[in-house]
């Protein structure tokens, strides 16, 4: 048997082995468990709702919000600019579809924390180190940003700036949430369309 035949035989055997592996084998965690654990238990994987409010007010292009709640909940109210990827869809599809752009910071949020926590570990386990969660989810967002109130006689410049950011983010949230469903859908579509156009560049 010459070398070509040997290599052919080897390839056939390896192909058989590959065929026996699950189709989604490429979607597996690549980090070491201990390293991943230390990473996801650290405080720097969370961003506060105030930070998110600031991103929204500034319309920061380097941040992408992913809303993991079901579509029917998302359509009722959501943070402006967030993309809805229900948790089940996120897990069952290729994460690359949603978080492939590592240039931007991806922030997950859900109603509370749990689904965002799962998604965070899932994404980071696969090497998407640009993923974070909004601590407390929408519950915390409503409590901190929407229910923010000015109280007391004196306020520092820093507190004033924080209050102003919350107020503006809250207004944007309320305005966006009060749009009819059709307009929200159009708004999201227009965002997608713009992204595609930008990908293409100038002609």
């Amino acid at each position: 048997m010459n070398i070509r035949q040997k290599v052919s035989l080897l390839l056939i055997l390896l192909s058989i082995m590959l065929a026996l592996l699950p189709l989604t084998a490429n979607r597996s965690f690549s980090e070491k468990p201990s390293k991943l654990l230390a990473e996801v238990l650290g405080a720097d994987v969370s961003v506060t709702v105030d930070e998110v409010a600031e991103f929204i007010v500034r319309e920061d292009p380097d941040v992408r919000l992913i809303d993991l709640r079901p579509a029917d909940v998302f359509i009722k109210e959501a943070i402006p600019g967030a993309v809805n990827v229900p948790y089940s869809e996120f897990i069952r599809s290729d994460p690359d579809t949603w978080i492939s752009n590592r240039e931007v910071r991806t922030i997950f949020y859900s109603t509370g924390n749990s689904e965002a926590d799962y998604a965070l570990v899932y994404a980071r386990g696969m090497g998407y180190n640009n993923c974070y969660i909004m601590a407390g989810g929408i519950t915390e967002w409503v409590r901190t940003v929407l229910d923010t109130k000015f109280s007391g006689g004196r306020i520092t410049a820093r507190e004033n700036a924080l209050f102003e950011t919350r107020r503006r983010a809250g207004e944007m949230y309320t305005e966006y949430s009060s749009l009819p469903d059709s307009l929200k859908a159009k708004f999201l579509e227009s965002k997608k369309f713009s992204a595609k156009k930008l990908d293409g560049g100038c002609e």
Binding site: L9, L21, T24, E31, S34, L37, L41, I91, S114, E115
Partner: protein, 140 residues
């Protein structure tokens, strides 16, 4: 096999690949193939246990208390182990979890800690791991 034995080079490379795949699939300290499959119970919510469900469980139950001070009332701790969350992937701790025959329940004051630890253990191939839902209700 006789045919393969005539070509040791092919046999050696093939066996090496098989060993690597088996190690990757069943090695105790690594993540398993097919992340989506191991995360599926979090989609269905079947990885969550209520206090009542835990109370009704018979047989060996291992409760891992991931909190510093939080504690379960006596009737709910057939076998409670306090474990710091960051040390859960340590050899001893993993051995304890793997050796246990029966459900392993994660309990923490901070729901985020339980959820993150659950995902890691699940992706390591541990099926019978659950999160105790609403642990605040237990302490009351």
């Amino acid at each position: 096999m006789k045919f393969l034995r005539q070509y040791p080079f092919v046999l050696i490379v093939f066996l090496l690949m098989v060993v690597l795949v088996l190690f990757r699939s069943f090695g105790g300290n690594n993540f398993r193939y097919d992340a989506a499959r191991w995360a599926e119970s979090s989609v269905k919510g079947s990885n969550l246990l209520t206090v009542d469900q835990l109370s009704a469980m018979t047989g060996a139950v291992l409760v891992l208390n991931l909190g510093d001070e939080a504690d379960l009332p006596g009737q709910l701790r057939p076998k409670t182990v306090i474990m710091r969350p960051e040390s859960i992937t340590g050899k001893e701790n993993l051995r304890l979890i793997r050796k246990h025959r029966g459900p392993v329940i994660l309990f923490s004051d901070d729901a985020s800690t339980s959820a993150r630890v659950w995902m890691i253990l699940s992706e390591m191939g541990m099926r019978d791991v659950y999160i105790l839902r609403d642990p605040g209700a237990v302490a009351e």
